[in-house]
């Protein structure tokens, strides 16, 4: 039984370490030290765009299809197929697009950062940086954080678009119980600009946590090639749990007391 609780206790400890590490990274961003390395920041942003955006959009596209068919069949069962747009709008914008964005960020970007920085740590490149008088945290972690903040809002907005397009395909083209115009009437009626903003805030909170966690596990990797693999796996555990928690808190905060729907008074 003691064995069973060993892992959660370990995570609590590393949670504290991660908060400490993150505050150092955030301090570097806040006192603008990171802009000494603006070139590196732009390079990281470029890498992020080229290597990760398509995968993220792909996953969000599939989940959009999923929301579409679930919504269409659900509304069939209540005898209101014309209202499939409600389900699609809420499912996409409020819940599953942010969540899937978080999953794919954790899988692609988070573990990627751990693998990259971790192998730098193992091959003692970070020590070399510090000998040359460059702070590893600023140069490696803070630049990545700023780069992701530059790029990800736009990636996220596009992925909302991908999710909407996929839901439209599933509901209107594939199942076909509702006309295109009828679908869009309901679909746009049940969302408004603040919803997009809230959804964006949720996703960006996830992205910041994922990048920081990735940097922490990479920066503190030890124990040779095996260590990098283990660190990558550990970062994934932490990220999955935190993505769900952030998503839940965001929903409670933004929509918990106010459904923001055009029904009733």
């Amino acid at each position: 039984m003691g064995d069973l609780f060993a892992a959660p206790r370990g995570w609590l400890e590393s949670f504290g370490e991660i908060v400490k590490f993150s505050s150092r990274v955030l301090a570097d961003v806040a006192n603008l030290k990171v802009f000494k390395y603006f070139g590196e920041t732009l390079r990281q942003a470029g890498i992020l765009i080229i290597s990760s955006t398509l995968v993220i959009w792909g996953l969000v596209f599939i989940i959009g299809l999923q929301c579409g068919i679930e919504g269409a069949y659900f509304d069939q069962s209540t005898g209101t197929p014309a209202y499939a747009g409600v389900f699609a709008a809420w499912c996409d914008l409020r819940e599953l697009v942010p969540l899937c964005f978080g999953y794919m960020m954790a899988a692609k970007v988070g573990t990627g950062i751990v693998a990259e920085i971790g192998s730098m740590r193992i091959s003692e490149e970070i020590d070399a940086l510090e000998v040359m008088g460059i702070s590893g945290i600023t140069f490696l972690c803070a630049t990545r954080l700023v780069a992701s903040m530059l790029v990800l809002p736009f990636v996220y907005l596009c992925s909302i678009g991908a999710g909407f397009f996929a839901s439209y395909l599933a509901v209107v083209q594939q199942i076909g119980d509702v006309s295109s115009g009828g679908y869009f009437l309901i679909f746009w009626e049940f969302q408004n600009p603040p919803d997009v903003l809230f959804s964006l805030i949720k996703a960006m909170a996830m992205a910041v946590v994922i990048v920081l966690v990735g940097c922490y596990y990479g920066y503190n990797a030890s124990g040779g090639p095996v260590g990098v693999g283990t660190a990558t796996a550990k970062s994934m555990v932490f990220n999955i749990v935190s993505v769900h928690l952030i998503s839940m808190l965001g929903t409670q905060l933004f929509w918990g007391t106010n459904p923001r729907a055009p029904i009733g008074g």
Binding site: I63, L96, Y103, M104, S123, V228, Q252
Partner: protein
């Protein structure tokens, strides 16, 4: 990966069945690693997505008692399997890739082959079977805690729980349950094959193992989601009685 799947299945059913001990070990390993993340994730997910949002919608119509019926659709059919698979891929899958990748890098796998021990029979098959079983069983666990999230959402709205359970059990059908368990068992197979393949083909030192884990989890996620879409579509289209909501 397809070749690895084929060889794994053939190797699993042909005697000798020498992988019993390793199978138990892997099963317990996955169980120990996953139970806590899965608990947190499913309660959070059940509370927020189907719980709060659907409750918001139903409260507007004063029909919160229908939330139970919605939970059959949302939690059993869709979200419990899906969160289950994501957590298993992210937690147990990455651990498997890291483990096998490390063995490949340290040339332990080559050593095994030289000794005449078949790595597929002794390493991949037990992981494959253990992950299938664990993912299928964890589906029930995820489902229970997902529904617990729904109960929380009902309580937050100050509604009695009686109508929730009434509509829940009115709508719950055996087809939904076995569909859910079969789906997650197949998810487990996908996760195991992808993660074992990526671990066993890792190369290039320290960065190689990290990159293998990275690719494994990305491919596993994409494969799970794509498979989920096809499976749901087939299940709903072939069992139209599932989509009828009982009052």
């Amino acid at each position: 990966m397809v070749i690895l799947t084929g060889r794994t299945i053939v190797s699993a059913v042909t005697p000798p069945y020498s992988y019993g001990a390793e199978f138990t070990g892997q099963f317990l390993f996955a169980l120990r690693l996953c139970w806590f993340p899965l608990l947190v994730s499913t309660v959070a997910f059940g509370y927020e997505a189907p719980g709060l949002q659907a409750a918001n919608f139903l409260v507007l119509f004063g029909a919160l008692d229908r939330l139970g019926g919605f939970f059959v659709l949302a939690s059993i059919r869709e979200f419990a399997p899906f969160v289950d698979a994501i957590v298993l891929a992210g937690v147990a899958g990455t651990a498997i890739t890291a483990d096998l990748g490390a063995r490949r890098i340290r040339e332990e796998l080559d050593a095994l082959e030289v000794l005449g021990v078949d790595p597929i029979k002794n390493l991949v098959v037990p992981r494959f079977l253990a992950l299938m079983l664990v993912t299928g069983l964890f589906d029930i666990y995820a489902l229970l805690f997902g529904v617990f999230g729904g109960v929380l959402a009902t309580l937050v709205n100050h509604e009695p729980l009686g109508p929730f359970w009434a509509t829940f059990f009115n709508n719950a059908s055996t087809t939904d349950l076995w569909g859910s368990v079969v789906k997650t068992t197949l998810f487990g197979a996908i996760i195991a094959v992808v993660c074992c393949y990526k671990g066993m083909t890792a190369r290039g030192g320290a960065e190689g193992v990290g990159r293998a884990v990275n690719q494994a989890v990305v491919i596993a996620f994409l494969a799970i989601f794509a498979f989920n879409y096809v499976f749901t579509q087939v299940l709903l289209a072939t069992h139209p009685e599932l989509t009828t909501i009982v009052r």
